[in-house]
């Protein structure tokens, strides 16, 4: 059981370049999240999705876009990368408790380390 898989694991971008981070989960979870982790700031929510075709902004959405065309995939895009977006990005997924009749935690991928130079 793969769980949550993020690709790529590492990437170096030049300022102004674009890229897409892919998150895939095989647990049939309804909710998916993108976080960034920076020293001393914990994990901050960028965007999230409560189901296929829906997305919503989190705490720090500026400079990022997301799409959830398939239930199992959640893509995070950087249209024009900036050095301030150097970070470790984590994807997570979680079941919808109203659908599943149970409460549970979020399951995380192993992270993507992005450096923008």
């Amino acid at each position: 059981n793969a769980g949550v898989t993020q690709t790529p694991k590492f990437r170096v971008l030049k300022t102004g370049q674009s890229m897409t981070l892919l998150c895939a989960q095989d647990m049939n979870h309804e909710y998916m999240y993108w976080y960034r982790q920076d020293p001393g700031m914990g994990l901050r929510l960028i965007h999230y999705s409560v189901g296929e075709g829906t997305t919503a902004k989190g705490e720090v959405p500026d400079g990022y876009n997301v799409s959830r065309l398939k239930k199992q995939n959640f893509l995070l895009g950087l249209e024009s990368a900036a050095p301030s977006q150097t970070s470790v990005y984590f994807c997570a997924s979680r079941p919808n408790r109203q659908v599943r009749g149970q409460n549970t935690e979020a399951f995380f991928g192993q992270g993507t380390r992005l450096t923008v130079v």
Binding site: Y33, M41, L43, R94, G109
Partner: protein, 111 residues
């Protein structure tokens, strides 16, 4: 919106000593609360969670946490710390749709 505060950025304890990591949350309804641990260069692993019921919850690796509604707290405890517990610890509150994390507490264990 919900929020989480972890007042201690860095804590150092001696191996074998007891540990308490503090977590305070802000949320308008009954919170879903979590503690995660992250070893260097790794992802996040769930230690324990609270949804309802008994306010003292047991987790993996000998950790426990107590939910105190009156204090809006969910502190993590361990009676005897092992060197392998050195890591960063995150408290999180899960609302209906999203989850918010604290800034984390880095734990150093002295021999």
């Amino acid at each position: 919106a919900q929020s989480v505060t972890q007042p201690d950025i860095h804590i150092t304890v001696s191996e074998g000593a007891s540990l308490e990591l503090r977590c305070n949350y802000s949320y308008g309804a009954t919170p879903y609360l979590f503690w995660y641990v992250q070893s260097p260069g790794q992802g996040l692993q769930l230690l324990l969670k609270y949804f309802s019921g008994d306010t003292l919850v047991q987790g993996i690796k000998g950790f426990e946490a107590e939910f105190k509604r009156s204090q809006s707290s969910f502190n993590l405890r361990k009676p005897s710390v092992h060197w392998s517990d050195a890591a960063e610890y995150f408290c999180a509150v899960g609302a209906y749709n999203d989850m918010r994390f604290g800034a984390g507490t880095r734990l150093t264990v002295k021999p």
